[in-house]
Structures are given as structure tokens and as C-alpha cells.
Amino acid sequence: MSAVSTSPVIERGTATSRIAAIAVAVIIALLAIAPQFLSAGAVDRMTALFVYVILAAMWNALAGFGGLVSVGQQVFFGLGAYFAIRLADAGLNPFLALFASGIIVGAVSWPLSLFMLRLRNGEFAIGMWVIAALTHLLVNLDRLVQGETGTSLISLNAYDAGARRAAIYWLALASMTALLAILFGLLRGSTGAAIRAIRDNEDAAASVGVRVTGTKRLLFVLAAFGIGIAGALWLATSITFQPKTYFNVQWTAYMIFMVLVGGIGTFEGAILGALVFFLIETWFGGTGVWYLVGLGATAVLFSLFLPRGLWGTIEERFGLRLLPVGYRVRFPAATDGDGMLSPQQATPYREKA
């Protein structure tokens, strides 16, 4: 039945998604030349946006695709900054230190996964928070950090402010692009299908040959690496390192907010959610406590009325898929000897939260 022209074909993309791929390339190219036209403040804000996109995409991969809901991802954000400080203090070029730090965070997350992935659901979520709090205290004990007084990535000050700002912007853009590409490749491949299967039913996934623990570990380590890079980039933009700022649970709260508002379990949703969060912060971030009240209210409204988030709803309503990771069966001839075939083609494709 393979060579027959009427046999079904597996589609990975659509005409829209092919246009979207070109659009993504154009947007990244425009972003790459943007610093020449943007003010210093705007460049810094854009760098923050790239960090948010990384955070949202990583938490979404972990929770939305892998079913691993963690409220302790700030541990990797904090460690990313901390190891960068440590490496720079040891004499490593500060820009190199940012990436070396991400790799160390990934390496640290591997032994952590050995016992954390034995926990399930709520235990895992809260367990990760405990790990974050514990790591925060341990980092405070480092004499270089001086407890909550903190320290700075002083070696970055050796660079001219303008050149440094642009360099960090480009590093953040390149990191975001590379991490999104890695994530997209992973989720779109057969490992991605395994990841979603584990999310939906671990026992059933094992019963059809999926290596459950190894696959979860891969995702866990990748998310730690990405969030570690994000933490190191954040350090590069703010220079100062105070443990309580980096190991704060607010970072995970932001990740959850971005993913829930954008659309959990959709690749596009996390990016959209980061953009929404960024705009809210830009417009209302100066209003102090009302900003936080607004964020909370928005999250509540979304979970009540748009549980699939913005992108999940758009996808459901319009069948729109820009960066699809799933599979669709297309039947070349509706009369394949089975009258049931054609109506199914209109069924919009969706990912489940």
C-alpha cells in the first residue's frame, strides 16, 4: 500500500506554516540589525524580551509538552547567574562565562534529575521549589557572594557601555534563536512524540516501548540548560547578582503566567505569552503593586475563560498552525473505499494542555 497514489500521506506542515517559517527568518534578521536603530533603553528592553521568550519556551516544553510542572525552575535561573559570576571571578572571559555557565547548569541538573524525576505531579512541582530554596541558601554561603549583599560581574565593566549593550543583545538574540530551534527540532522529532505520550499517560507510553525516564531526563536537562543561559544573560544585563533576586519564585511565576496566557502545550503559545507579558510589563510595570494585581487578575481571567490560552484558542477556532510539531494524515482521494475519510480532514488540529 506504500507506493499506491491513493494511500494516505503524512503532513508535518501547512502552506501557512511554510510562510510562517520565512516570516520567522525575516523577523530574526530584522531583530539582528535593530540595535542600530533603537535607543539604548529599547535595546535593553528587547534583551529582556529575549530572556522572557527563553524562559516561557523552556517551561512550556517541560510542563506543556512533557507534563513536568515545576515551580522551582528559578533554581536554574539563579545557578546560571551564579556560575557565570564564579567563572568570571576565576578569570574566564565574562561573555564566555555566560555560556559555560549554562553548560554547568545543565550538567548539575542531570544528577538532580536522578531523584527529582522519581517524584510525580505535585510532589515534583513542590520538590523543585524546595530544591530552589535550598540552593539559594547554599549560594548565600559562598564568600564571594557575601550572603544577600551579593556581588557583581565586574569584569563586564571593562567593556565600553554601548558595545557591551549591543553584544549582550546579540548574544541574547542568538541564544533565544538557537534554543528555540533546538526545542522545535526535539519536539517535532520522534522524541517529541514520546514526550507528549509520557505527558498523557506514562504507563501506556512505557507499554508501547517509550523510554520514559530517559526521555524525561533529556527534557529536564535541556530546560535547565536553557533557563541557566537565561539567568546568565539576565546577569549580563543587570551586572549585579543578589541571590534573592535570582532565586526568587517570581521567575517561575512569570514563566507560568506567560505559558498559561499564551497557550500551554503549543509551541507558538509560549512565544506569544512572553510577548504579552513583556508588553504588560512595559506599559504597567511602573505602577507598582497594581501591576502585580493586574498580572494576577489576568492569569485568573485566562484560566477561567480561555483555559487554552491565546494561541490555543486561535488554533482551535481557525485551525491555524504556524510552527506545528504534530502529524496530520492527508487522504489524497476522498473516495479511498472508506466514506468516513473526508469529513475528518476538516477537524482542526490541537495540542492538549
Binding site: 507528549r196 504507563d203 512505557a206 502529524y327 472508506d338
Partner: protein, 246 residues
Amino acid sequence: MTHPQQQAILAAAGIHKRFGALVVLDAVDFSMATDEAVGIVGPNGAGKTTLLSVLAGAFPPSAGTVSFKGGDVTALAATQRCRLGLVRTHQVPKPFSGMTTFENVFVAASHGAGLGRDEAYEEALGSLKLCGMLGVANRRAETLGLLDRKRLELARALAARPTLLLLDEIGGGLTDGEAGELVDTIKELRRRKIGIVWIEHIVHILLQVAERLICMDAGKIIADGEPQTVMADPEVVRAYLGGGPK
């Protein structure tokens, strides 16, 4: 029985399974050849599904060994046993509910059967076609009804390319027409030389496929042999059919 140990593809010896104080399997010995289709009947709570789970590696037995294709697989998890060709379905369907029907089956073809992308596509489509599910290939599994969920269990297990398939009540709730289709599908699997162990309450469907029948009661095998003989066994009649003359 007429199934000597040396040609057994699957053999379970001295299987005990306890959950706390409850003894669910009590010294069960079972073996079968690849070219067999074995039916398992018995009253609720007899330990049928537990036996299937122990065979498939969902959990380890409290005592006893399971061997498959001549090797001891007692210590192997379900993932490894599936990759060796010992694949099960679930009594209560366990679909990957956020994925499409095709994706559910593709996971098994890609990971269970270890196929590359194009081969996995073909295997998945073939399984869906055999189980009559091509029409719902793009539906998310959580939107499927119970009948389709049961079919999906079968299609998904098949896509893992089993040597031996362990079926757990896939016929429950079927109409006569649907049951006929299911029997045709299972007969096709027999033509493909796939061994079958099938737990089923709907005995008349089972008897159309099973060449050997086992009856379990209270954690033990109480009868094992040619189906008509087993069904006529007085102890089977008492335990399973509730006693009294037929």
C-alpha cells in the same frame, strides 16, 4: 499439556503476586508457543489482568520468573519487553489523549518497533487501516468514544510489531457486528503469525479465535486445554458460570 518447555516463547513459572495481605496470583505456571492463540476466562477478581500485567512487565511478581524468547525477562520493565516483542493492551483504555489517533499509533511504531520515520509512518497507517481507524486518524484521542478507544489500544499495540500480543477485554461492549469485525482483525493477526493471549468475558467471540483456553479462579489456573473441554469442565462451570446444569 502438549506444549513442551523448549518451544515455549513465553513462560511464567511459580508466579505469586500479593498486594499487601491480598493474594492475587497464587503459584501460577503458564507457557505457550508463538503460534498459539490462548484465551483466558474466569470470574472477576480471578487475577487475569494481574497475570497479564506481570507478563507484560507493568509490575514485578512477588515471586516467580517470566521468560520470553528463551531469556529471563523478570527484571525487565514494560518498555524493554515491548521492544522485545511482548506487547499488551489495557482493559481500561489508556490513550495519549492530547495526541491524535495517528500520533498515538506512531509513537508505538517509532519507539516500540524502533522504526525510522518513513517506516514508522507506514506501520502506523497499516495498523490504523487494519483496525478500521483511518477515518479518525486526525482526531484527538480524548474525543474518541469508548469503542474507538478500545480499537486504538489494539492499533497502538500492533504498531509496536509484537511477536506476542496480550489483549485485555478489547471486546467488551461491542455489538455483534463490531464483534465480528474484531474477530476478523484477530484472525488476520493469526495469519501474520502473531501469538495471542486474550482475556475476554464474551466467550463466544473468544472461542472463534482461541485454540486453547485457560480458566482462572481465585489467583489459580483451574483448567487449561482445548476450549470445548475447558468450558465443559465441572470446576469451570462452577467457578465461572455459577454452577447448575447448562
